[in-house]
């Protein structure tokens, strides 16, 4: 087997001193498509945030291409695309202007690439609409357009299907599967039943601390 790109090594996370889960081990070689599941409050969002370096881990380590992410933050971030709960789309800017700045945070984007990405998320024709006049689902689609612009290897998506209609969900699943096929890694959370054929599942419910051990 190919060497794992991303490794979670005995990872534990806590919030305000309360242990959420502990001892998560996981190796993701290129081509991984992994759904993180668990009940509300299990710690999925916390796991994803820790993985990207936004939150500190309580114990354990996260390695990217063999080295701890803390020692190579900038290199790691070049290969990372993170889409969270929140929608960083400025209401007063048009759809295209939003993608221009979001894109520029990672390697350069062209206007053509943006037009192409907007077609992919069914927002063609909305390039010049101000973003405050979009519906909930359309706003999230602007965010998802980044999937078609980014050259990142690792996609970390927190509930990417929120507010997306049925056709949109199917298309998004296909895109995620294709990224994995092409040697990328997709980690995502979702509570919805999915139509995709093959993906791994990491169930956080199994890593919860025993009743008395949340506080050490």
């Amino acid at each position: 087997m190919s060497e794992p790109l991303l490794t979670l090594d005995n990872l534990s996370c806590e919030r305000d001193g309360r242990l959420l889960f502990s001892g998560v081990d996981c190796e993701c070689p290129a081509g991984t498509l992994l759904q993180v599941v668990g009940f509300n409050g299990a710690g999925k969002t916390t796991l994803l945030n820790t993985l990207t370096g936004l939150l500190p881990a309580a114990k354990g380590d996260i390695r990217w291409r063999g080295d701890s992410i803390r020692s190579q933050r900038q290199v790691f971030h070049q290969e990372l695309l993170y889409l969270g709960h929140q929608v960083p789309v400025k209401p007063q800017l048009t759809v295209r202007e939003n993608l221009l700045w979001l894109g520029a945070l990672n390697p350069p984007v062209t206007k053509d690439a943006i037009a192409e990405a907007l077609v992919q998320v069914d927002l063609a024709g909305f390039e010049h609409s101000p973003s405050f006049a979009l519906s909930a689902g359309q706003k999230r689609r602007v965010l998802l357009a980044q999937l078609y612009l980014s050259r990142a290897t690792l996609w970390v998506l927190d509930e990417p299907f929120t507010a997306i209609d049925k056709a949109g969900v199917l298309k998004l699943e296909a895109t995620m599967a294709r990224h994995a096929e092409q040697g990328g890694i997709v980690l995502f959370t979702s509570h919805q039943p999915l139509a995709m054929a093959e993906f791994a599942v990491l169930d956080l419910s199994q890593f919860q601390p025993a009743p008395g051990e949340a506080y050490v």
């Binding site: 001193g17 309360r18 506080y215 050490v216």
Partner: protein, 258 residues
């Protein structure tokens, strides 16, 4: 090894248990120093020829002012240590130092105003050092408030440390600029000038008072930090066991009484 010792020092539990032992002799010592120093200054030092008895406020006022300033640097250093070595205890020390420093600043301001009434004829004068003290109060207040309002404790610690560190650059700048501004506007103040003019019979009690204040500051810092440790670690096992022990102790005591 030295490093091991250093990191043990960072452990709140270790500090809590050790400091229990220190307090046994340190607290009485501080008390004695305070009582002796202040009663010597207020009761037995000779009367000042120009100011009469009102000068005696200096025994409370001057050490408080000195410590209020020193306390800021102690707080900032604790914050820096916490940030650099990612330890919990220094942050707790930093957080405890803020209200103590603020209280000392208030004390300086209050005693200064009291003193100002007989000497300047007014409670408040826009004098360079008064302003500086007022600004120091705001600096402390900023840290106290920030520590209070931050939603998460870890974040609050680091944020306060950053603010305190930036403050250390700013404190001398503020001092200088206030001084500069003041010298442009007003003639020399009515203050007693320089420590050198002080007579030994007043100097010794003053020095004793300063020592007593330093001890008092350390004591207050230890007590506050212990409290902070208990609050933060309240849900850990060792604190639970401690509480359990205390509880059964008191239970035994009350049980044994009849």
């Amino acid at each position: 090894m030295a490093w091991q010792w250093f990191h043990r020092l960072g452990s709140p539990r270790w500090f809590y248990e050790k400091s229990s032992r220190w307090l046994v002799w340190f607290a009485p010592l501080t008390l004695v120093l305070m009582v002796v120093g202040i009663s010597w200054g207020l009761g037995f030092a000779p009367i000042d020829s120009k100011q009469g008895n009102s000068y005696r406020i200096i025994f409370i006022h001057m050490p408080a002012a000195a410590l209020a300033l020193a306390g800021y640097y102690i707080m900032a250093i604790a914050g820096a240590v916490g940030l650099i070595w990612k330890m919990k205890l220094p942050f707790m020390v930093m957080k405890s130092a803020a209200p103590i420093g603020a209280a000392l600043t208030v004390l300086t301001l209050a005693t200064g105003s009291l003193w100002g009434h007989p000497t300047w004829g007014t409670f408040w004068e826009w004098d360079a050092r008064n302003i500086f003290m007022l600004v120091l109060l705001f600096l402390y207040a900023g840290i106290v408030v920030l520590a209070e309002v931050y939603p998460s404790r870890d974040a609050a610690d680091k944020a306060c440390a950053i603010l305190a560190l930036v403050g250390t650059i700013n404190v001398p700048i503020i001092y200088k600029s206030v001084d500069w501004w003041y010298s442009l506007h007003q003639p020399a103040s009515i203050k007693l000038t320089g420590g050198s003019s002080i007579h030994p019979s007043m100097l010794y009690p003053l020095l004793l008072c300063i020592l007593a204040y330093y001890c008092f500051y350390t004591l207050a810092l230890i007590l506050y930090t212990r409290r902070e440790i208990l609050v933060r670690e309240s849900r850990t096992k060792w604190v639970a066991e401690l509480a359990q022990a205390k509880f059964s102790q008191s239970q035994n005591a009350s049980g044994g009484a009849p």
